[in-house]
């Protein structure tokens, strides 16, 4: 472990596999862990009970595989993740095409139980397994002139129905400021619940930036580029007014089409109530990254 970030959530906070596989039965009997948590008076935000693997794998936005929430689960099996290579280029000391195993070898995989907040105002809690992005960047050697990191998702038109339908200008691209990328909360996830990522969750490796809206956490990454200027990002290209480069979770700055003040946890059923969205999605430790910035301008 890199020990730059103290994870106050332990393995004990992660629902055991037997429990999440059985949660439906438990819920049917109405004596689940969640019920005890609520009875104990802990708010939903504090309890952080992770979503089930089934929920995490069947409610996805991955427009390369269709626009319906269940489309990625139906179509992503077509993604070819064999012989995965990641191109690392730009302002780095060791550029090149890395086999995924080589890029990650020697780096430690950590458990991170994170809130995940979509710009569409739904949220989940996900027990990721991943490597701090800083470790990967340090391994390839970031040059001092680099200020941003750009990421790119794989494009396999024959396997991706959404790419053929041109829902967005593919490949999907994303980016972070270097200090955001180096923040210990930022990880490259390779698994969930100690299982390799499902294709619809962004296999074999995807970014996770828990204080930003979900679309920043780009999936199935094939390219990492260090640059000195702000890289273009897909949703901003599609709609400049609605999606900014930063896209930090911020209940006070509304998206033109969705209020961001509240959210709904996926998995709560038909009568789930909304809950307040937290500034930086409940990760106030990142606030210092944006000191002096007007977050309604840099949304």
């Amino acid at each position: 472990m890199a020990y730059r970030w103290t994870n106050d959530l332990t393995r004990a906070d992660i629902t055991p596999k037997s429990a999440y596989l059985n949660r439906r039965q438990i819920l049917a009997g109405t004596v689940g862990l969640g019920a005890i948590g609520i009875a104990g008076g802990a708010s939903a935000q504090d309890a952080l009970e992770p979503n089930t693997l089934e929920e995490i794998r069947t409610y996805n936005n991955y427009y390369e595989f269709g626009v319906g929430k269940n489309d990625p689960a139906q179509n992503a099996h077509q993604l070819d993740t064999s012989n995965w290579t990641v191109k690392v280029d730009g302002l780095v000391d060791n550029p090149g095409d890395y086999a995924l195993a080589d890029l990650l070898s020697g780096l430690s995989v950590e458990d991170r139980l994170y809130r995940f907040r979509c710009v569409e105002a739904w949220s989940m809690v996900i027990p990721w397994n991943g490597i701090e992005l800083a470790d990967i960047l340090n391994k390839v050697g970031v040059q001092s002139s680099a200020k941003y990191v750009a990421f790119e998702t794989v494009v396999q038109p024959d396997n991706m129905i959404g790419v053929r339908n041109r829902v967005l200008d593919f490949p999907y691209v994303e980016g972070l400021r270097l200090d955001e990328a180096m923040h210990p909360l930022t990880i490259m996830a390779t698994g969930i619940y100690d299982e390799p990522l499902a294709n619809q969750n962004g296999a074999p490796m995807r970014l996770v930036v828990p204080w930003k809206y979900g679309f920043k956490s780009i999936k199935s990454i094939v390219r990492i580029t260090l640059t000195d200027e702000e890289p273009p990002i897909s949703w901003n290209k599609a709609n400049r007014r609605e999606y900014g480069f930063y896209s930090n979770v911020n209940p006070t700055v509304d998206h033109p089409r969705w209020s961001q003040a509240t959210e709904r946890r996926v998995g709560g059923g038909l009568f789930a109530s909304r809950q307040d969205t937290l500034m930086f999605n409940g990760y106030p430790e990142v606030a210092s990254l944006y000191e002096g910035m007007d977050l309604s301008e840099f949304f």
């Binding site: 069947t58 409610y59 569409e120 739904w122 089409r257 209020s259 509240t262 059923g269 038909l270």
Partner: protein, 209 residues
């Protein structure tokens, strides 16, 4: 037109009230699926979408009745009121899911209607459907006379707003709302063409006779 005759004969045998029953059963069935976790992990949004899409489909179907009869001979005229009224109830269900289960408060409803254009147009479309549903009875038709036809032309406005609501709601370039936009645009075009034909016809006949 053997097929058209057969279709019309079978249609004549179906009582119009079956439409209401089918509509009500479908609405309840969808609610049941959502309430019993059979509509995915986020049933509120899924249910809202199911009701919204069927509402739009029924509105479009209602608009298709006349052109369908004019151009193919298939006669759905006796179902048109049932189609319209069912559309209203499905859209009402869509509105209720949004208000009660989704946004969950009057304050938030108001903010949404005022601040989000796609909600604004959706709400206008729904409000415009209310007088149409209320006047969908024989008494109103008799009482309103020629005004009834004028009032019910609002269906076109409702259809255009409903499509706009859908286009505005989706992210990125999506095919489905665009298909609905093309269909409603086409139906509007046909209606204008039909009206021109009707306007020309009496004069033409007068010359011919």
């Amino acid at each position: 037109m053997q097929i058209v005759d057969t279709v019309n004969q079978s249609l004549r045998k179906i009582p119009t009230w079956t439409m209401y029953i089918v509509g009500a059963v479908w609405v309840v069935w969808m609610f049941y699926l959502a309430a019993t976790n059979q509509m995915g992990p986020e049933p509120i949004n899924a249910l809202e979408r199911e009701y919204g899409e069927l509402g739009l489909k029924l509105i479009v179907l209602g608009l298709m009745v006349t052109p369908l009869r004019t151009w193919t001979g298939v006669n759905l005229l006796k179902f048109r009121r049932a189609i319209g009224v069912t559309a209203f109830f499905v859209v009402l269900a869509h509105f209720l899911v949004w208000a009660v289960l989704d946004v969950q408060s009057f304050g938030r409803m108001w903010t949404e209607v005022v601040k989000r254009p796609y909600v604004t147009v959706g709400m206008i479309a729904f409000v415009l459907m209310v007088p149409l549903a209320l006047t969908s009875n024989n008494r109103s038709i008799r009482k309103l006379g020629a005004n009834w036809r004028k009032l019910h032309k609002l269906t076109y406005t409702v259809a255009v707003l409903a499509v706009l609501h859908y286009i505005w709601l989706v992210k990125g370039f999506q095919i489905e709302p665009i298909v609905y936009a093309l269909i409603v645009g086409g139906l509007l075009g046909l209606r204008i063409k039909l009206r021109q034909r009707r306007a020309v016809k009496p004069g033409g006949l007068a010359v011919g006779e």
